[in-house]
Symmetry: C2
DNA sequence: ACAAAATTTTTACGCGTGTAAATTTTGCGC
DNA sequence: GCGCAAAATTTACACGCGTAAAAATTTTGT
């Protein structure tokens, strides 16, 4: 760690006693040089701390080792959690992931992709905003950069999609609720931005028919990504209007359910499956806070690990194969029912 | 948007009828060229979509327009929220912010800074891990890159610190609780990683003395960043052992309080200030979920806007002045008491 | 020990932009 | 129309590394 400062690879090559092209080769793949050579370089690395200039490297590469990860909302613990896992896996694969949140704003989403393109990324993982996304723009982006979509699917966009099987989620919760009591109504936003919401509604309807029940859907007003607040306001209104068709409620997602439970508490309605409970509430996603709601929330959990590892693996194999795969691959993972106190 | 593809500034200069050095000047500062020249360039930009190669630019600049934002944990909505605001302000100031979360891991924190250095950032905003941070490493980093610390202070590190005034937080909550009922005990982790926790404990002790009460502190076990779980387990234990010294509890932060409330609900203890309530609970931070807990949480709110805008403004002025300021500036913002149902 | 194979060295150019210096052109007031 | 200052152009080099081609060296197999 002493000696004069090393300014570039030229100088580092000199102090390590190896020619610059060979040093360059080493940094691109340490195993591509002879063991004795590698030894000398690594000895020099111990003594002088030199690291190649990342800008000069990337200027000459067609593709960098950068990977972009774009999610709709980093303040949502669900996305924070899954992008953390994805980030980790990219690092382990030797790439440089960068995280971007579009904060529910379609314009910001396109801006992010626009800037991302300049970074010549090897690939991108996108959880798109959904209905509001500028599909045309994303499609154009996908032509330039190998892209895997996750969490929410935009038909035909990207080389692959990895997500959760909404039918499995709803099927399990409806099944459980019906088996242990009254069949649930479905509580959701009127105009959900996320395409998963539409799939969940359809799955609810199908599953209810399958079980011989009439589906009952409660749709509440609200725009944007403040789901808890929207769920809370919708629940307060539904309770006051006595417009809930059943006393078993299946929320489309946990964030709505968090608001729903908050409203129930405020209105003095006891939630749970025991005696003296007015309502049963269940939901989907297994939000990191679902275990701390009052009561703790019965929900269907994403297979975080499988989704994130499969997303990254898929992207890696696309990157390695160099070209685009001929068929767009879609992979869905089933949910795992998590029984807690709310139902 | 038609015409042949533009490969570099040379070609773009040609189609716009301006020399390359002038075009370069334009991209560095559109106002530095004559209006008629700017017009020609912008007309060409309409027709051909060219954007300068970011790697070639940064290679020749001593400093880039990059700004690094490092927080301990992106999955914590508090940090997600404040970094979102900071990110926005950096963008508005014409910089390119990149967000990094160290996930509570000191080694990852140093790795992030290590990689950040290679990006030759114009400046960095760091909310350090705290007690676990590698102070020596961060100090070395600060010698190379203008750095503003926020949220949690490491004495003497960075050019400035911007955060919240912990005394103001605790002072207001203790004051309110004492004024409206029994003086609170203080509920916290035994070995908090975050230095704010220590300041809050001391502020609690001081304020209690000032009001003529004996401070009572409940310290619970637990390591890491799963504060809700730690708070929940600690609360369950304290309730079962009947070791809570008072029936008014002031939690060190909202995430602990979320766990605390969850435990109370599970144990059938009603929380609030009305009749039939067994406990009053208050806390600090105004976590985004504090309004959805059961009951909703009385807490002291950060001045998010002031902290984030002041952090960015401070960094910008340091960057513009080019050098290091002679004195390390510390700026603290007071809390705002938010009264809800829990106390 | 010798030929073949593998690796390294030497040499040289390219990537796309910043920027300095000298020169030419433009804009503008009188 | 003149003269001056401001702006643009021309020319040239720099940044740090990838990489190709040919030559020199080392290693490997027998």
């Amino acid at each position: 760690m002493e000696g004069q400062k090393i300014r570039n690879m030229e100088e580092f090559a000199e102090v390590s006693g190896i020619s610059r092209p060979t040093v360059s080769k080493y940094f691109n793949d340490p195993d591509s040089v002879r063991k004795s050579t590698r030894g000398k370089i690594e000895a020099a690395l111990e003594e002088y701390d030199y690291r190649p200039n990342i800008f000069a490297i990337n200027q000459n590469r067609k593709l960098t080792k950068n990977i972009g990860i774009v999610v709709p909302n980093l303040a949502d613990p669900f996305f924070a959690e899954i992008s953390r896992t994805i980030e980790r896996r990219c690092l382990d694969a030797g790439f440089k992931p960068t995280l971007y949140g579009s904060h529910g704003d379609p314009q910001l989403e396109t801006e992010i992709l626009d800037n991302l393109r300049l970074l010549k990324p090897a690939g991108t993982l996108i959880a798109p905003l959904g209905r509001l996304s500028d599909k045309g723009f994303i499609e154009a982006f996908c032509r330039d950069v190998p892209t895997v979509l996750f969490d929410s699917n935009l038909e035909g966009l990207g080389e692959a999609f990895v997500g959760s099987d909404n039918y499995s989620f709803v099927s399990q919760t409806v099944d459980y609720l019906s088996r242990t009591g009254e069949a649930p109504c479905f509580f959701e936003m009127k105009n959900p931005a996320n395409p998963n919401a539409n799939k969940r509604r359809q799955a609810y309807i199908d599953k209810m028919h399958e079980l011989g029940h009439a589906p009952k859907i409660v749709q509440i007003d609200g725009e944007g990504w403040s789901f808890e607040e929207i769920g809370r306001a919708g629940a307060l209104k539904a309770i006051q209007d006595k417009s809930l068709p059943t006393s078993t409620v299946l929320c489309s997602n946990d964030r709505l359910a968090i608001g729903f439970l908050s409203a129930c508490y405020e209105m003095g309605l006891r939630v749970g499956s025991g005696d003296g409970c007015a309502l049963r509430v269940a939901s989907h996603d297994d939000h990191p806070y679902a275990r701390f709601t009052c009561p703790s929330l019965t929900t269907a959990a994403h297979d975080y690990d499988s989704v994130s590892s499969q997303s990254v693996d898929t992207l890696m194999s696309i990157i390695e194969s160099g070209g685009r795969p001929s068929t767009r691959n879609e992979q869905l993972f089933p949910a795992k029912l998590i029984l807690r106190s709310s139902a």
